[in-house]
C-alpha cells in the first residue's frame, strides 16, 4: 500500500515537472517531446487508477498522434519561439 502511494506520488510529481517544462522551453520541438512525456506519465497514472482502457487511448492519442501532429506543424513553420 505504501509502495502504491509512493509510486503514485512520484508519477504526480513527474506530471508537474513535465508540465512546467512544456511551458518553459523555448525550443518548440523540445516542448513537443516534453508533452509526449507528460501524456505517457498521464497514461501510467490512469493505469494505476485501474482504468486500462483509458490508459491505452491516452497512450495512443496523447503520446503518439498529438506529438506527430505537433511535429508536422513545427516542420511547416519554425522551430524556435520568437523573442518578445
Amino acid at each position: 500500500m505504501t509502495l502504491f502511494l509512493l509510486v503514485q506520488a512520484l508519477v504526480l510529481l513527474g506530471l508537474i515537472v513535465t508540465a512546467v517544462l512544456i511551458i518553459s522551453f523555448k525550443d518548440l520541438l523540445a516542448a513537443a517531446i516534453a508533452f509526449a512525456a507528460f501524456s505517457l506519465l498521464l497514461s501510467l497514472e490512469f493505469y494505476l487508477l485501474q482504468a486500462p482502457d483509458v490508459a491505452i487511448a491516452e497512450a495512443g492519442i496523447g503520446a503518439g498522434l498529438t506529438t506527430a501532429i505537433f511535429i508536422i506543424a513545427i516542420r511547416g513553420t519554425q522551430r524556435h519561439e520568437e523573442k518578445t
Binding site: L29, P52, D53, A55, I56, A57, G60, I61, G64, L65, A68, I69, I71, I72, A73, I74, R75, G76, R79
Partner: protein, 155 residues
C-alpha cells in the same frame, strides 16, 4: 527540418511492430482492455511515426492516400452491414444474432482464467474490426493531408 538517419531507421524498424500490436488490441477487443478505437489509434501511431520521420514524397509509396480512404469507407461499411444483418435474421437492428446460432461463434467467454478463445461474442469482433480499420484510415488521412501541405526546404 530534416530528420537524421537514426530517426528514419528507428521508424522503419518500429513500423511493422506497431501495426501488429494495434491489430492485436483490435482482435482481442472483446476479451481484454482496448478495442476498435484504441487499436486503430495504435496502428495510426505507427503510420504517424513513419510520416514524421520522412518527407511526403518518400512515404507515398508505402502509405497511399487512396488505400487509407478505402480503409475508412470499408470500416464504415462493415459496421453498417453488421448492424443491418440483424434485420435479415429477423431480429432488431444490431442484434447479436451470431452468438448462440453459428458454428464458429458459438462459445461464450468463460469466467476466470481461460485460454482466451477468439471465436466468442458473436458480432462484437466484427464490429471491433470495422471500427479499427476505420480509425486507422481516418487518422492517417488527416496526417497525410497535413503533411502534403508542407513545403520542404531543399538541402
Amino acid at each position: 527540418m530534416k530528420m537524421t538517419k537514426i530517426v528514419r531507421t528507428t521508424a522503419d524498424l518500429f513500423f511493422p511492430f506497431c501495426l501488429v500490436f494495434g491489430l492485436y488490441v483490435v482482435v482481442h477487443g472483446h476479451l481484454t482492455p482496448g478495442g476498435g478505437f484504441q487499436g486503430g489509434a495504435v496502428m495510426a501511431t505507427g503510420t504517424a511515426l513513419l510520416l514524421v520521420a520522412r518527407a511526403y514524397d518518400d512515404v507515398t509509396g508505402r502509405i497511399r492516400k487512396g488505400a487509407m480512404k478505402a480503409c475508412e469507407a470499408a470500416g464504415l461499411l462493415i459496421f453498417l452491414c453488421a448492424g443491418f444483418s440483424g434485420l435479415f435474421a429477423g431480429r432488431p437492428f444490431m442484434a447479436n444474432w451470431l452468438a448462440p446460432a453459428g458454428q464458429w461463434f458459438r462459445t461464450f467467454v468463460a469466467h476466470g482464467p481461460n485460454p482466451g478463445d477468439l471465436n466468442t461474442a458473436g458480432l462484437l469482433p466484427l464490429l471491433n474490426f470495422g471500427v479499427g480499420i476505420e480509425v486507422l484510415g481516418g487518422l492517417t488521412v488527416i496526417l497525410l493531408y497535413m503533411l502534403s501541405g508542407i513545403k520542404e526546404e531543399k538541402k
